[in-house]
Amino acid sequence: MMDMLLSSLAVLTRKIGVALVQLVLIATLVFSIMYVMPGDPVMMLLGAESDPSPEAVAAMRAKLGLDQPVAVQYASWMTGLLHGDFGRSVTDGYPVADYIAENLPLTLELAAAAVVVAMAIGIPLGIVAALRRGTVVDSLLTSFSTIGISLPVYILGAMLILLFALKLDWLPSSGYMNFSRNPPEHFRRLLLPALTLGFGLSASITRMTRSSVLDILDRDFVRTLRAKGMRERRIIGRHVLRNAAIPIVTIVGLQLGNLMGGTVLVEAMFNWPGLSTLLVEAVSTRNYPVVQGVILTIAGLYIFINLAVELVYLLLDPRIRRRRV
């Protein structure tokens, strides 16, 4: 037992170490965005055509900290991050961290709702398709998943708005309602964006579930289980699904990155005041510190999700938990 715990712990610490290194590298990358991108950010901020005075340029430079040597800037950027300081917004001087703290939960809520929708649809459909392999049901479900993967969120979203908001008038077409003020309305407004965002993911999950269940069904040990005289339902429910869960978790983990990307479009469409809305706004006003802060947050989230996926592996797969020397 002891060696098992130790080796699990060892795997875990290594993963966390890798994630930390990734975070530092990403912080560095985000820091360098300002320098590798063509054009002087100060001039872009002030607007090149208005021909600003040298004093204004110098003031802006100082405000952004750009008057100091790069090494000093880098050091203060990194130490700031350690203290949760992402800098201050150029436009109104509020701390970027405050903006993120305000917008991040909304994005997380949307993404989580979308994942729940996607798994609730995708996993059962995938299992059904695999067990009914080669039948009409299978080809219908496979076509469904191909369509789901191909359909851009903004088309699906527009169609849903057209149908549920404009034609049927069941749900509001866009906007956000604070949960504490009106809980039912909060969820009514969450429904369409979550459905829009989750649909594409549900299609990938259907497809992945189908192929991994099929793959497991072909393994030798399933033949052994049948030869033991185990009931088919138990073979599927206990053994096949448990083994198939590993690749399914992988795909969900990998797709979460795409999901974060999808929020950019979905939030814009439904006026959902999340992180991506903040980003698009900051990008269009050239608010660099906010842009950097949001990107860092999203990348950090992604790394965190990947780490979580690795932990789920540890729980699911004894082959990773205990490696034979």
Binding site: L9, F221, T224, R226, A227, K228, G229, R242
Partner: protein
């Protein structure tokens, strides 16, 4: 107990039904072990799956009956069949590790096997499972119960499989190549277990294998199958004394048997054709073994104190473990002779071949090829020196680039060494030397059978006229009859091209057939070496004796006593 009557099974293909098992009949009585022998593609596995009602979706039973104690299994409904499986009739498969669910412990899987068919508490079932493992002489049964399949060795997993198969005291056990994936010493233990079980439990056992030696050791009666047809059925002793069908005669003759020395192997017809019609008498045209090489001739290859150590670390908190893959190995091979290197899986013999080729560098020691130390060379000098060494790999399905035609494959060594102008002539000459036609040159590897592919691989190895040919398990993946042909080819080529062979194999009988001298390797060390005849007649080291003892032998009393 189990009776198969006129069973035919066919595959559904776009072109219609392709019959694979043709009107097979056999019966297994209580307490009897019946061997079912056939080469790959003979339909023996399909038949056993048919008995279980576990045929692949595209296979159908076209006629026949399968009776278990008088009850027709083909007429039974699915629920009845399920209740019989694992209970009154059970099965042991070829690849034990893949046949166990990787995410459940072995103990849980045995417990499951018991509790599916018997109303018994979890605790009681565990006790019984552990008892079974103890009876099967698994080391540390309590630990095996807690372990996942990947943490156990192949032999241990096969014991777990056997425990599951016998857990409910079945009447019939079907064992499909139960020892093929195992080392020879482990194979012996597993066969002994089967024999004992048969005696104790009284179950009827149907043992399916391609290995006549295994049959000879444990079976009471034998059924021989070829391409879906039953060729012959006889008591084991009779079959080996007086085989009736030409195919069986050929099969027995083609088997490299221990103690036969360096003899040319008779072969079973040509690949892809029907079994030989001509009586396959061992041919008299046996090439005399080369006379003992005078010691004055300098060896082609000499290894002096070659060692390779791997350091492994399980995790950042674990201690580093040193593994000596190759430990102080000294070997030498005289020109135009064959050194057979024998050992079980993991003994370091493949690492040794990589060290000779400098694919991996030795930590210590010298690899002298024609007197030059290869370990001291690097870059272009090494490349030039290595041109005289070629290699034939184990798996003919993986060692040929599927995207190159045979001409390009054989000419590859010439292309690599800037001698492309000779490629056509060399390819034409070599393709015939290995017994294929010129027409083969324009075709691709997937159009050939395993044996033919191995011929192509040999032709490629000869393209630069090498002096040393390393054959790493070069015939292990082939059927017995094909194996004999390839071994004969290697012998012929040795004379024709003045070749020196390093022949690496786990199969003692094969090694004896081709080798002038033998080295036995275990855990990275050479435990014994010397002239082949000497080693086989008077093995000095205990491990060599154990290895020799474990090989199923035809013509001597079986190592596992017949009940």
């Amino acid at each position: 107990m189990l009776e198969v009557q006129e069973l035919s099974i066919a595959f559904e293909t776009p072109e219609g039904l392709r019959p694979t098992v043709k009107s097979m009949s056999l019966s297994v009585r209580k307490g009897e072990i019946v061997g079912l022998v056939g080469e790959s593609g003979s339909g023996k596995t399909l038949m056993s799956l048919g008995v279980f009602g576990l045929l692949p979706k595209n296979a159908v039973v076209t006629s026949g009956r399968i009776l278990l104690d008088g009850q027709d299994l083909l007429a039974a409904d699915r629920e009845t069949l399920r209740r019989l499986r694992g209970n009154r009739i059970s099965m042991i498969f070829q690849d034990p590790i893949a046949s166990l669910d990787p995410v459940f412990t072995c103990g849980d899987q045995i417990v499951d096997a018991i509790r599916i068919h018997e109303k018994i508490g979890r605790k009681a079932a565990r006790t019984r499972a552990q008892g079974l493992l103890e009876r099967l002489k698994i080391s540390d049964p309590a630990r095996a119960m807690r372990s996942y399949p990947h943490e156990l060795s192949g032999g241990q997993c096969q014991r777990v499989m056997i425990a599951m198969a016998v857990a409910c005291k079945p009447d019939v056990i079907i064992a499909d190549e139960p020892t093929t994936a195992l080392d020879v010493t482990v194979q012996k233990q597993v066969l002994e277990i089967l024999r004992e079980l048969n005696r104790e439990v009284g179950a009827a056992i149907l043992l399916i294998t391609h290995d006549l030696g295994v049959i000879y050791e444990v079976a009471d009666r034998v059924v021989v199958m070829y391409r879906g047809d039953k060729m012959e059925e006889a008591a084991t002793a009779d079959l080996f004394r007086q085989p009736q069908s030409a195919y069986t005669r050929g099969l027995i003759a083609a088997m490299p048997a221990l103690g036969a020395g360096r003899a040319r192997l008779p072969t079973v017809g040509d690949e892809g054709r029907a079994p030989a019609r001509r009586p396959a008498q061992p041919r008299a045209t046996v090439a005399p073994a080369p006379a003992a090489v005078p010691t004055a001739v300098p060896p082609v290859l000499e290894l002096r104190g070659v060692s390779k150590t791997y350091t492994l670390r399980a995790g950042p908190f674990s201690k580093t473990v040193e593994m000596r893959a190759v430990d102080d190995v000294n070997l030498s091979i005289a020109p135009r002779s064959t050194l057979g290197l024998v050992g079980e899986s993991g003994c370091g013999k493949s690492t040794l071949s990589r060290l000779i080729l400098q694919m991996q560098r030795a930590d210590r020691g010298q690899v002298l090829f024609d007197g030059r130390d290869l370990t001291a060379l690097s870059g272009e000098a090494l490349r030039l020196a290595r041109r005289d060494v070629a290699m034939v790999f184990q798996n003919p399905y993986a060692s040929l680039n599927p995207r190159q035609c045979v001409r390009d494959l054989i000419a590859a060594p010439l292309d690599i060494n800037g001698r492309g102008s000779e490629r056509e002539a060399v390819a034409r000459r070599l393709i015939e030397a290995v017994g294929l036609t010129q027409a083969a040159l324009a075709r691709y590897p997937h159009e050939f059978s395993g044996g033919q592919r191995q011929r192509i691989a040999i032709a490629r190895a000869l393209a630069l006229n090498p002096r040393l040919l390393i054959c790493d398990e070069a015939v292990s993946a082939l059927d017995v009859s094909v194996q004999a042909q390839v071994l004969n080819l290697l012998r012929d080529l040795q004379e024709e091209f003045d070749l020196t062979y390093l022949f690496i194999s786990h199969d003692l009988a094969v090694v004896e057939h081709v080798s002038d001298s033998i080295a036995v390797m275990r855990a990275g060390r050479i435990v014994e070496q010397g002239p082949a005849a000497e080693i086989f007649a008077r093995p000095q080291h205990a491990y060599t004796r154990m290895l020799l003892d474990a090989v199923p032998r035809i013509g001597t009393p079986p190592a596992v006593a017949v009940a």
